[in-house]
Symmetry: C2
Amino acid sequence: MEKGYLDYQSGMPVDPRVVEAMTPYMMEHFGNPAVLHSVGDSAREALEAARAHVAGYVGADPAEIVFTSGATEANNMALKGAAMKLAKKGKHVVSTVVEHRSVITPLKFLEREGFEVTYVPVDRDAFVDPKAVEGAIRDDTILVSVMMANGEVGTIEPAAQIGGIAKAKGVLFHTDAVAAQPSVPIDVSTLPFDLVTLSSNDIYGPKGVGALYIRKGVRVEALVHGGGQERGLRSGTENIPGIVGFGKAAELMKAELESDVARMKPLRDRLMDGILEGIADTTLNGPRDRRLPHNANIRIAYIEGESLLLALDMEGVKVSSGSACSAKTLEPSYVQLAMGIKHEEAHGSLQFTFGRWSTDDDVDLVLAVLPGIVERLRKMSALRPGMEYDKESFGHGHDH
Amino acid sequence: MEKGYLDYQSGMPVDPRVVEAMTPYMMEHFGNPAVLHSVGDSAREALEAARAHVAGYVGADPAEIVFTSGATEANNMALKGAAMKLAKKGKHVVSTVVEHRSVITPLKFLEREGFEVTYVPVDRDAFVDPKAVEGAIRDDTILVSVMMANGEVGTIEPAAQIGGIAKAKGVLFHTDAVAAQPSVPIDVSTLPFDLVTLSSNDIYGPKGVGALYIRKGVRVEALVHGGGQERGLRSGTENIPGIVGFGKAAELMKAELESDVARMKPLRDRLMDGILEGIADTTLNGPRDRRLPHNANIRIAYIEGESLLLALDMEGVKVSSGSACSAKTLEPSYVQLAMGIKHEEAHGSLQFTFGRWSTDDDVDLVLAVLPGIVERLRKMSALRPGMEYDKESFGHGHDH
């Protein structure tokens, strides 16, 4: 990994051990599990071994794992599939304002289809209040969806508590676990989760594959119809190399999560404290406790995140500003706006995410170059306070 | 490739040149195209280069190619996406009885959602009659979907003619081109196709990726919602290694289709004629002309396909009986039943499909072992005519 890469949430390399496990299934063992002859045997065995690894990684039974083309499809399947299945029972869904776009957008789709969605707000640290979720559940509520953690600002949500509330009320509970995967253990054998969205490429597995955990007894409608693969829940010739890679990544993550966190958290803490203590007018976005140990998101006053990001890039530091998905649009992060952070403040945030190959060198580089960049940019910034033209350019004029 | 593999339609290895192109995008160039920093640059460039290759392969503009998780999803997106978009205009769709399951099953879903589908029948060679399609189009018809070729019995359908009829009537035309891809050129710049389903792993590319060609000006609803990738038509972090592999496979297929066919067709002809001439009571399923040059499907009277297939497997010959998807269920092929082939006859079919690594050795092996296997199985067969117990076992008794 090149020094200075601190954007694992946007993109992770595939673990070389995963690539090694996948490659034979592209060339020698390329069989279709559906065929009767022996070339299908290795494909079938590989498919079920991978399913067992993914199940083992989250404490599930293999029969509860349905492979999809990724976490986005799994979120679509969980939300639309459950809503369609339960539409006769009710058409109300409870979720939050800080969900990933692959949850929010399917919910907007459901709203166009006649469902009603209550988006529970969050506090200044992006925490969802379980009581607010409880208060939003109605007689016609069929589904509650709250993420395990917010990958942008690092907040670990009280998903277990909220799942318990949904369970007590007899309402299905879905959680998007993707952002939590690199640094938080997930155990559905003890957690009250009915549907869990899992990603492969957020645990150093290949892109183009993911899974939906569906608790035994829970039924959802299929989203992709065809040959009836995955017990009719997800048709399409199985992406065996991708699934094998996901299985290997899950096996490795189960074994290495603890050591990954033990390595990442001190690095993250040193970076976080180094910036907050070393650079004036910087603020942590999201909580200090109950925070993803591989995430730091820091607001740097008076600067636009995009110019910061590009200046850092020139020094070899790769980070994001806001969520990866919204980064390209240059819109301020809807998560930060939902936390009550002002429009112009939300623009000046940097999101650092650590991963399996992060080292002290990455932190050293950021701490070496960031103060100078901030100083330089603040000198040029229209956002800097106390300068006459700033006030005018922001429309404050002379009225205060 | 191991000698005797003649089941390319069920599963193809990834071309080693494709694997070589993909691997760097798993490890070194793992970036997310959505990020602003330079790590995203190589991902963005790779994504657009692959799009240009896939577009070039079918004579499309790159802006007309939407990447999906595979051909099944592309068929789902074309059919449901077009139906949803045009539901206000009408709710009638015309298709055929011999489409792939990834077309039939989404159509059945649309029927449950209030759409009406006319499934046009086929003749003894599985040909769809363009006049029958024309006759089925009504004022409220919004979509016609007819495959380019049937991968099981090899029939190349008059899709161009049918597309022209749809166009003349102002109705959208979709074709599932997957079965045709290994041996038939596709050129949307001259063919009247509005929506074309394309597979990667049917042209020696990776599994888990496909594309939908959407002619400029044609609009469909998205099936998978989220971060707005692929211009909002297919959300989800782009599977860059898979897409790069598909691009490379498309580039290779465009360059090598002609030489692939020149190599496969004589092998196919020698196998087909060798069996038809060398073994009594064998019949070609599907036409001799206007047939996929890499496909032979032969009915062998008085034997069950499954026992044939397993006996061949023991001799190293890997083939399918019926379609890959129905093979596991041991149901007779719905395609052959639709052609008017009797239930017990349809059970005795062998489907041979050739590919880029097929050689004379594969044909030699089949011609060496098949006659003996057929003779042995026919001796044991309850289906063999003229034996008293046969008639009884099939319930014919003494009444005729």
